[in-house]
């Protein structure tokens, strides 16, 4: 018996939100490290992340598969065909996007605040704290972008998730399955549901973010 649609939707949201969360946390740390590096070095590193934005998710999927399949280095953890493996893969897909989109706005914020901190004679780490205090709107955008990238991704979901009914089937794998069976109408309906959910969640996050900023 195929599982109900709401279960597939909830799994999609869970996997994507967790992957986006990891991408957002790790991406923010990477950006902070880049900001403290000499400008020339950080720009070069950023170029690598910008290049990786376009990496086909299926390549990331194969890479994660090679890590988690029974003979791979993480094989003993038995992560293959689990939501956890999907989260790892989707995190890797979303990470370059998170770094590339966070760097520029945070860099200008960093420049302003670092100058201010230096002119006041305060230690440099104070500038990092100040940037973190002022950055929630930027970080919220990073999270939303990472979430959008993760929820619409298929390559990783299919290769390391397997699209197993009741275990790892998410909206994109369900759409791929219906397409391969020639059920284009059903695939389109699922696609519309996926887009509606993603847009609704993003609007809700934006509204919540605006409320938080207003509350200061």
């Amino acid at each position: 018996m195929p599982e109900p649609l709401h279960a597939v939707i909830l799994r999609s949201i869970y996997v994507s939100s967790m992957a986006a969360l990891l991408a957002f946390i790790v991406g923010s740390f990477i950006v902070i490290i880049l900001l403290r590096m000499p400008a020339r070095v950080s720009r070069n590193v950023l170029s690598v992340f910008e290049g990786l934005v376009g990496i086909p998710p299926i390549v990331v999927g194969v890479f994660v598969y090679m890590l988690v399949y029974p003979g791979g280095p993480l094989g003993p953890l038995k992560l293959l065909y689990t939501p956890t493996a999907m989260i790892i893969g989707e995190f890797l897909v979303a990470l370059p996007l998170a770094v590339a989109f966070t760097y520029r706005p945070l860099e200008s914020l960093w420049r302003e605040l670092a100058e201010l901190v230096e002119s006041l004679g305060a230690p440099r780490f104070k500038a990092v704290l100040l940037v973190l205090r002022e950055s929630p709107p930027i970080l919220l955008t990073t999270y939303i972008i990472s979430f959008s990238r993760s929820i619409g991704e298929l390559g990783v979901a299919l290769i390391v998730g397997g699209g197993i009914d009741g275990v790892t089937n998410v909206m994109t794998t369900a759409i791929a399955l219906e397409t391969s069976l020639g059920n284009y109408e059903v695939a389109l309906k699922l696609g519309i549901v996926l887009v509606s959910i993603a847009v609704s969640l993003i609007i809700a996050l934006r509204l919540a973010g605006a409320k938080i900023v207003e509350a200061v």
């Binding site: 969360l21 989260i87 391969s180």
Partner: protein
């Protein structure tokens, strides 16, 4: 409560709290899943094959035993690779050449034809190559070749070493014609349903399995594509169940379950196919025809590469 609200009023603190909450949810669910872990077999199947009969055989097995089964749906090439990696322990496929390749590599320990269907030549209803007048499959292919050369017809090939593709290559060899490289000979490298839909849209001929044709026709997905040549004794599309080698570490602990599944597929599973699928011409059980089907598989497995 007011204190908490005041603390959260700073945006960076609220964000920090949300991040912490998210991580907590992740950890709790990951631990919960870990605790829920129980024995199960991960198996693989061709997508069309799964929906054409394997699904009910698996459901029947699940109901008659306490073994949980998780199914990965892929094409045969993928499934063979997953078998050799130990990512799956059992597979239902339909590609004699690839099956024999992995059998010779020692990846597959046991394999058996568990079902079959008939192959047909389908094409546009106006039949510009006059395939409906063909006396044999070879004759049908010759007619398509001639019409193709005259610019009147196109042929769609799966080109993926599937059973249909292997049988198609064998038939071209027998005719003495080589259509490769011709403008009217199109390779899709896609599954049977997608290939049939492409043929429908391009008004082209193709060799396909009768079960897929009937299923698509019932669903009204193909309208112009008609059966133009069929032979109820030959050619056959053979569906094979493969069991991973006992040397594969990842599946060793599940060996008893895998053997149980094999017995079910070749035993009670045959009755399920007979009752549910044979009356409509979708799929036929191998029971009673094992030797004949085995010989057919062996001759087809030599073609490909």
């Amino acid at each position: 409560m007011a204190k908490v609200y005041r603390w959260l009023a700073k945006p960076y603190r609220a964000l920090l709290a949300l991040v912490a909450l998210g991580l907590l949810v992740f950890l709790v669910t990951a631990l919960w899943w870990g605790a829920q872990r129980h024995e199960y077999i991960t198996i693989g199947s061709g997508i069309k094959l799964y929906n054409l009969g394997v699904k009910d055989v698996i459901e029947g097995f699940k109901n008659s035993s306490n073994v949980d089964i998780r199914v990965i749906l892929r094409n045969t090439g993928d499934l063979m690779r997953l078998l050799s990696d130990g990512s799956i322990c059992f597979a239902f496929t339909a590609s004699p050449y690839l099956e024999s390749l992995y059998l010779s590599k020692g990846v597959i320990e046991w394999h058996g034809v568990f079902a079959y269907s008939y192959l047909i030549v389908a094409g546009p209803s106006d039949d510009p190559a006059n395939v409906s007048g063909a006396r044999s499959l070879m004759d049908a292919f010759k007619r398509i070749y001639m019409a193709g050369e005259e610019g009147k017809a196109r042929f769609i090939s799966r080109g993926d070493l599937s059973a249909e593709h292997v049988r198609e290559m064998l038939t071209w060899n027998l005719t003495g014609f080589d259509p490769r490289g011709r403008a009217w000979y199109i390779r899709t490298a896609q599954g049977p349903v997608q290939t049939a839909l492409i043929a429908e849209n391009m008004r082209a001929y193709l060799l396909m399995d009768e079960g897929t044709y009937i299923a698509l026709n019932v669903q009204d997905k193909i309208r112009d594509l008609k059966i133009l040549y069929a032979n109820s004794s030959d050619p056959l599309n053979l569906f094979v169940a493969s069991m991973v080698s006992s040397k594969n570490d990842a599946c060793k602990s599940l060996r008893a379950f895998i053997l149980e599944l094999r017995e079910y597929v070749m035993g009670p599973g045959q009755a399920i196919i007979e009752e549910k699928y044979s009356p409509q011409g979708l799929l036929y059980p191998a029971k009673g025809k094992e030797r004949e089907l085995r010989e057919a598989w062996e001759s087809l497995s030599k073609i490909g590469g």
